[in-house]
């Protein structure tokens, strides 16, 4: 059947009209039967009056109306003129045969009432049954089936097995769902392809960018350090500049690729339990050169028993970024202090400097890409503008948060939290 609505209308009208139709017929038959009873009663009346009139000479009171009119007229005429006996006899005869006819009609009418009622019930029962079957098989079954398919799709169990849905309203709904699902799957497929293309691009780009830089950096470094032969001081300083800028370009490429990987969701963390103070010591050692050239003192304070579950290279990258920023912006002979604080189940790493501070309106912006505060006095401030964006991404990948507390003129405190940490075994055992 092509249209559920047509079937529904047919069944609905069948049940409605069969019930009302036969009900009306039954009612009609019942009414005829009542009328017949009425007529019979009248006829008895006529007969008894006529009988009385015929037998005795006393006046008969006609205290009822007779239909059809001729019966009344006959009786009244008989009252007036006792000689019209023939007409009375004739009336009695007709009345008797009329009664006989009515008696014959009575069971016929009774049966008709019964039959019509029965038909009305049978038809409504049959149409209800058809209606029930129709709802069950053509409406609820497809709905449940479609619902199951949708649940399966949501639970990633979509099957490609082909089956043509019925050509009706629910079937069209099912087809629409199939098309929708196919569209979603196609798009997922496209996205997967795109993702793969992106990671291939990242891999190729990093290789193709770093390979020429290897040669440039190598050549400059060999020349600058006089491996090929002594160079005069001016050449050396130019080579130094070229070398520094090459390093900056390498840093920029590394950070751009890091950021691209983070944004592509291809930033796997290699997490391990690591004593935090060891990592800090390593980081401090690597920053010592920069600190000395800026005449800044580094102080790292950490509880030696804290262990954290982190990707140590990445967290070192974050600490290096925060600490080197702090060093770059610190005045000569000041201190950059790193503290580790336990707070609300997290540990917080704070890097404090006594630099110029950050204006409140810039405190959110500095974590965005390519945003950096510039300083004309400080030549060390020459970054890529990506460091803090990467730091934030790394910290967030670890489930932590990064923020800054700063007042212009009073220095800044950059802090980030790490949530997976514990005290080392020695402490846990003694406790």
């Amino acid at each position: 059947m092509s249209s559920l609505r047509a079937v529904f209308l047919f069944l609905a009208s069948l049940s409605l009209f069969s019930f009302t139709g036969f009900g009306f017929l039954a009612y009609d038959a019942w009414k005829s039967r009542l009328k017949l009873e009425d007529k019979l009663a009248q006829s008895y009346n006529v007969l008894s009056h006529a009988q009385k009139a015929f037998d005795g000479d006393k006046k008969v009171e006609l205290n009822f109306k007779l239909q059809p009119n001729f019966r009344q007229k006959t009786l009244t005429a008989f009252e007036k003129n006792r000689r019209s006996r023939t007409r009375l006899t004739h009336l009695l005869k007709t009345e008797l045969s009329f009664q006989k006819y009515l008696y014959q009609l009575k069971p016929e009418l009774t049966r008709r009432v019964q039959v019509y009622w029965l038909l009305a019930f049978v038809f409504s029962a049959v149409s209800s049954l058809l209606y029930f079957l129709f709802l069950k098989n053509s409406i609820f079954k497809p709905i449940f089936y479609l619902n199951r398919r949708m649940q399966d799709f949501l639970n990633n169990r979509y099957s490609y097995e082909f089956e043509a849905p019925a050509n009706n309203e629910l079937g069209r709904l099912h087809s629409a769902f199939n098309q929708l699902a196919q569209k979603v799957l196609d798009q997922i497929h496209d996205l997967t392809q795109l993702d793969r293309a992106k990671s291939e691009f990242l891999s190729i780009a990093s290789h193709e960018l770093r390979t020429p830089l290897t040669s440039i950096k190598g050549s400059l470094s060999l020349l600058e350090h006089g491996v090929i032969g002594e160079v005069n001081p001016e050449t050396k300083s130019l080579l130094g500049i070229a070398g520094q800028e090459t390093d900056r370009l390498i840093r920029l490429i590394n950070e751009l690729l890091d950021l691209a990987k983070i944004e592509a969701g291809q930033f796997p963390l290699n997490k391990k339990w690591i004593p935090l103070d060891q990592l800090l010591k390593k980081t401090k050692d690597s920053l010592q050169g920069l600190a000395e050239s800026a005449h800044v003192k580094l102080e790292f304070h950490c509880n030696p028993h804290i262990e954290t579950l982190i990707d140590s290279d990445r967290i070192q990258q974050v600490i290096t970024n925060l600490a080197s920023n702090a060093i770059k912006f610190s005045p000569k002979d000041s201190k950059v202090i790193l503290r580790v604080i336990e707070e609300n189940n997290n540990i917080i790493l704070e890097v404090e400097d006594s630099g110029p501070g950050i204006a409140p309106e810039d405190q959110v912006l500095i974590f965005e890409k390519f945003r950096q505060a510039t300083s004309e006095e400080n030549p060390l401030v020459k970054g890529t503008g990506l460091g803090l964006a990467i730091a934030r991404a790394i910290v967030e990948e670890h489930g932590g948060e990064i923020s800054v507390r700063s007042f212009p003129g009073k220095g800044s405190v950059f802090l980030f939290s790490l949530c997976e940490w514990r005290l080392s075994k020695a402490i846990r055992v003694s406790a």
Binding site: T211, G218, L222, V227, K261, Q266
Partner: protein
């Protein structure tokens, strides 16, 4: 030290050779593709092999896999690559092997190699 360098980029070869020969005073043998590298690694002995990851014919990983499959373990292999390690889908297990990222600093290349060799020697002692 006698060093085998498998590298297809001739500029990098020039720089690395200069760095290793002039600064580290090592002896450097160069091959330019994976097949040649595999041939040398299997049949000759070197103190260390610097193996580029992306090479024509046979890439560094394939060379390394074939070397491991050959059951010969007379050469120490150090990978050199311009790709970040963490971009790899499957990190290789590196028995007695190190990794030097490009761009490297030619002034400290010899030191890096020596550090990796002594590091792997320590690891072996520990095992």
């Amino acid at each position: 030290m006698k060093i085998l360098m498998a590298e297809d980029d001739l500029n990098i070869v020039t720089i690395a050779r200069m760095a290793l020969e002039k600064i580290g005073k090592h002896e450097v043998v160069v091959v330019n593709d994976g097949n040649a590298a595999l041939d040398k690694i299997l049949n000759e002995s070197f103190d260390v092999v610097l193996l580029d990851e992306m090479m024509p014919k046979l890439n560094g990983r394939e060379v390394f896999a074939k070397y491991l499959a050959s059951n010969k373990k007379h050469n120490r292999i150090i990978f050199m690559s311009a790709n970040n390690r963490d971009l790899d889908d499957k990190p290789l297990v590196f028995p007695e092997v190190g990794f030097i990222a490009k761009p490297f600093d030619p002034m400290t290349l010899s030191q890096q190699i020596e550090a990796i060799i002594s590091g792997s020697a320590h690891k072996q002692e520990a095992v």
